[in-house]
Symmetry: C2
Subunit: 210 residues, 2 copies
DNA sequence: GACAGCGTACCAACTAGTCGGTATGTGTGA
DNA sequence: TCACACATACCGACTAGTTGGTACGCTGTC
């Protein structure tokens, strides 16, 4: 939509400053506890600018969920595991990649939409739907590789590629809760290890010593 | 402490009415979005009574987390799987039991402390610690059965009983997020199926057709 | 001169928490 | 057995501060 933006891309617009701040602040404090003033302070933008770009706090939440989807889509699209020829390697590589990005503080590596959906699923249907779309969209990409891996390895199973893909997301979301409970990524990484081992067992792949 | 309470047990005290209401309201709306007035209305108790029993909203949250631990401890202690002689059957029975209690509305079967920790881990250390204690206490019980199962089945592995026990909790917490995203327990149940299959594979147990 | 982008000042509603007060025991000593 | 001291449980109007949101003005650009 911004095709004709000349040469001022280095100067971030208020809108994108707010969105960037929202990703961090909401992950740290949760959606309800995040005030509009928090977001304005964190993004160094005034309230007038905030409500110029977003018609309400809920509207910002939906935009933030969509922005999160874009950011993560780019992050994973650029990840190295896509080049692996065996789709099973791509699935396992995805999990390895998810382990490598467990760095920094807890709010830095946890998931915005997983956090937001907890607080909004019952009272803010529009936000919930935006978060659910984000999770399902991401799962669909994993599903494609899982599906290809099942075909390539001749797996006929009672579980579906879709169900396993969603399970990977459940493990990751749950791993983030353990990280929040324990104050660091260690338990989250161990949970991803278990998930990796599960998938190796499902596909009869000899396990690597960790 | 209430040894000499004669015959008025049917009349619930204000304190326990508030705690019961808190379990439901906080699971539905989240902690920050739950107001003290919400809790007073839901429990049919006045504000004066609320602050007589709890010195702050945060104090209530901690009490609610502890109350949640007591309630769930009782629930699982009374569950049928404890009678199984093989500890592995007890572990699998635990998962089966967790599947059977996925009934009613989403706030009815999801986890209070998993929900609360997401909103409080960074800003309310006391609440976070109470939630973390609840999760770890529950995991410790699973760990005991896993540990016994490893011994009974001669499993020597690179993963620990503790790590697998925590992984079960990660899967369950993540399953609840999927339930919130999808509006029902179906995806959560499927994730528990995957976890069950994983444990069967780890212990070389022939899998039951589901 | 119209309009996007933004700043400042402000408001009505809401929120956690307070405070003075009532009702109902409960133990104790004369 | 009565009076008194004290404690627990509870009530609900009130307040100080916060919150999402609005009104309106300024400035550069097409």
């Amino acid at each position: 939509m911004d095709a004709n933006m000349p040469a001022r891309q280095q100067k971030q617009s208020a809108r994108s400053k707010i969105l960037d701040a929202a990703l961090m602040v909401i992950r740290a404090k949760g959606y309800s506890a995040t005030t509009v003033d928090d977001l304005c302070t964190a993004s160094d933008v005034t309230k007038g600018a905030f409500f110029h770009h977003f018609k309400s706090k809920d509207d910002l939440a939906i935009a933030a969920a969509n922005y999160w989807s874009e950011m993560t889509d780019e992050l994973f699209a650029a990840a190295p595991y896509h080049t692996f020829p065996d789709p099973l390697d791509r699935v396992l590589g995805y999990l390895d990649f998810r382990k490598t990005i467990l760095t920094g503080t807890v709010p830095e590596f946890t998931c915005l939409v997983g956090t937001m959906i907890q607080e909004t699923y019952d009272s803010h249907p529009a936000i919930r739907d935006a978060c659910a779309r984000s999770i399902r969209g991401h799962a669909a990409k994993i599903e494609a590789d899982i599906s290809a891996a099942m075909k390539a390895h001749g797996i006929k199973a009672e579980w579906s590629a879709r169900s396993l893909a969603l399970h990977t997301q459940a493990v990751l979301q749950g791993a983030f809760i353990l990280a929040k409970a324990s104050g660091g990524p260690k338990l989250a990484a161990e949970s991803i290890d278990h998930l990796r081992r599960y998938i190796e067992l499902l596909f009869n792949r000899p396990q690597k010593k960790s």
